[in-house]
């Protein structure tokens, strides 16, 4: 029998931690709570969590700064950020700072549990996560995250900014079933009444530009009735 994963839940809103903590406990995790960034950093060294759920807006030390300090210290404990305002800039920042995933408030607690499990499954102990890499590669496809540029066989591809953001999220979450709703939430940050088509249109653009055949995908696989999955092996480009 494996031991239960340890989760550090960091949020200054007591109403949230008081309800989420027992929920996560019942979902099979051992949970410790911290109320701000400073306390979280202390807990990281004493409690040694397997994953941190980190709110952004907090007193003393906010989630963003706490995450940065953690990564600067070479600590690669997986982090799921809870973005408060849902601003698109905040979402972009979350991935840049090396968060493994992020979730917009208000969220469904079941969704948080699903994300925690997905991140834990993907984790490579002691190694920097894909989400903290500047450049990612899948075969001859290279994504330069900072420059927001995509290359195939050293040739630059012309993609819309939204398509680049979508590709970025998919490449940092390979082998994971990504539902259209989730892609909408993390890449667009909005729920559209027209949701599924919005995602499908951009996936179609990616496939066309990447020259990826949906019947025999090298990169993006359609999971019928559910969503998409990035099936190519993703590596960090040093």
């Amino acid at each position: 029998m494996t031991t239960k994963p340890k989760i550090l839940l960091v949020d200054d809103e007591q109403a949230i931690t008081a309800n989420l903590s027992p929920f996560l406990g019942r979902s099979g995790f051992v949970v410790t709570v911290a109320a701000d960034g400073e306390e979280a950093l202390r807990q990281v060294s004493s409690f040694r969590p397997d994953l941190i759920v980190l709110d952004i807006l907090m007193p003393k030390l906010d989630g963003r700064e706490a995450l940065r300090r953690l990564r600067q210290a070479g600590n690669w404990t997986p982090v799921i950020l809870l973005t408060q305002v849902g601003e698109s800039t905040e979402r972009a920042m979350a991935l840049e700072e090396g968060a493994d995933d992020y979730l917009n408030k208000p969220f469904d607690p079941h969704e948080l549990v699903a994300r925690i499990r997905a991140v834990l499954r993907r984790v490579r102990p002691g190694q920097p996560p894909l989400a903290s890499a500047q450049r990612l590669a899948c075969g001859d496809l290279i994504l330069d995250r900072q420059a927001r540029r995509v290359f195939a066989a050293s040739e630059e591809l012309r993609l819309t900014p939204k398509a680049v953001a979508l590709l970025e999220y998919m490449m940092t979450h390979p082998d994971e079933l990504l539902t259209r709703d989730r892609l909408l939430d993390v890449v667009w940050g909005w729920d559209y009444p027209t949701g599924t088509r919005t995602v499908d249109t951009r996936i179609a653009e990616l496939r066309r530009v990447l020259n990826d055949d949906p019947a025999q995908p090298r990169y993006i696989e359609t999971v019928p009735g559910q969503g998409y999955r990035f099936v190519g092996g993703v590596e960090v480009v040093p």
Binding site: P106, T160, T201
Partner: protein, 315 residues
């Protein structure tokens, strides 16, 4: 500004001096045709008087303009304050109902009910919580629309509308409506619109969704688009019940719900989102309606004049 007014008072003095010196020169010259004899003091006095009148008139008109301008600013401020007050009132109203339902639901749950009624109470509380979540999500969209970076890609309006109409046709509200799309074919196709494909699609779809929601079976909903100078106009027209004249100016306000909208699901943020989207793209929105006859909503978006960096988005 004060020094300007002081300097105005100096004009008659300066003018008097100039006229006085002119007359000394003129009377010194031989002039057989016109003979003017005014003594220097009177001339200076008259000139000063005339210029004083002119200066005073200038001052009065300047003050008048300033007063009018201040009045206009005050008017805009009052209007903004009034809109804010109405917005808060509507927000309060939008939240009151779900919150009341949640409190009642929780009270029922605390009373230890049979499993069946307990389930019912839970479901109702959850539905109300989702309703509030939807409201905050919509409000966030509106706030974000003003600041978020817009993607600017060439949007093919004809294709976008075809897709929006196809999607609308699948909705249950479309049952029994005649939904048509009119696009110009000659002499040339419409120019693209530089913009955020997702947002323009959402705006067009919102209008279409509204038209379907507020019409009855048998009504016609017509979507059309055409080139209009340097703009592309997108219109959604319907033969629905129309909007009372006094409500028309308000329909673009956040959370506004007209009399006819009671009982139709929605937050009252749809048209506000359409307006914010179109304005972010540098366009305008207008709504014309006749009670009993129908409504036409027009979005005008600046057309693309130069080729862009990004490829066209199409499916």
């Amino acid at each position: 500004m004060r020094w300007r007014r002081c300097s105005v008072a100096l004009i008659p003095v300066a003018a008097g001096l100039v006229v006085a010196s002119l007359f000394t020169q003129v009377s010194a010259l031989p002039n057989p045709i016109i003979y003017v004899h005014v003594d220097v003091g009177t001339a200076a006095l008259l000139a000063g008087l005339a210029l004083s009148i002119l200066a005073a008139a200038g001052l009065v008109s300047w003050e008048w303009k300033r007063w009018r301008c201040e009045q206009r600013i005050a008017g805009v401020r009052t209007q903004a304050a009034e809109e804010r007050r109405r917005f808060l009132q509507r927000l309060d109203h939008e939240m009151k109902n779900p919150l009341t339902a949640i409190r009642a639901g929780l009270a029922n749950l605390a009373n230890g009910l049979s499993p069946a009624t307990q389930e019912e109470a839970l479901a109702s509380v959850e539905a109300q919580v989702l309703r509030l979540s939807q409201l905050t999500a919509d409000l966030r969209k509106l706030a974000e629309l003003e600041t978020r970076a817009l993607e600017r890609v060439p949007v093919d309006v004809a294709e976008l509308l075809q897709e929006a109409v196809a999607l609308a046709q699948e909705q249950p509200e479309a049952a029994g409506r005649r939904l048509t799309l009119v696009l110009p074919q000659a002499p040339w196709p419409m120019p693209d619109v530089p913009g955020d494909w997702d947002l323009v699609f959402l705006a067009a779809y919102n209008l279409l969704d509204n038209a379907l929601k507020f019409t009855r079976p048998g009504d016609t909903v017509e979507v059309r688009a055409f080139e209009d100078g340097t703009f592309v106009a997108i219109e959604v027209a319907d033969t629905g019940p129309g909007i009372p004249e006094e409500e028309v100016p308000r329909v673009w306000e956040e959370l506004y719900r007209g009399q006819g909208a009671r009982g139709v699901p929605g937050s009252g943020l749809g048209l506000a989102l359409v307006r914010a989207t179109v304005e972010r793209h540098g366009g305008q929105v207008t709504l014309r309606s006749r009670a009993g006859q129908g409504t036409v909503v027009t979005m005008r978006l600046p057309a693309r004049l130069r080729p862009d960096r990004f490829p066209r988005v199409s499916s």
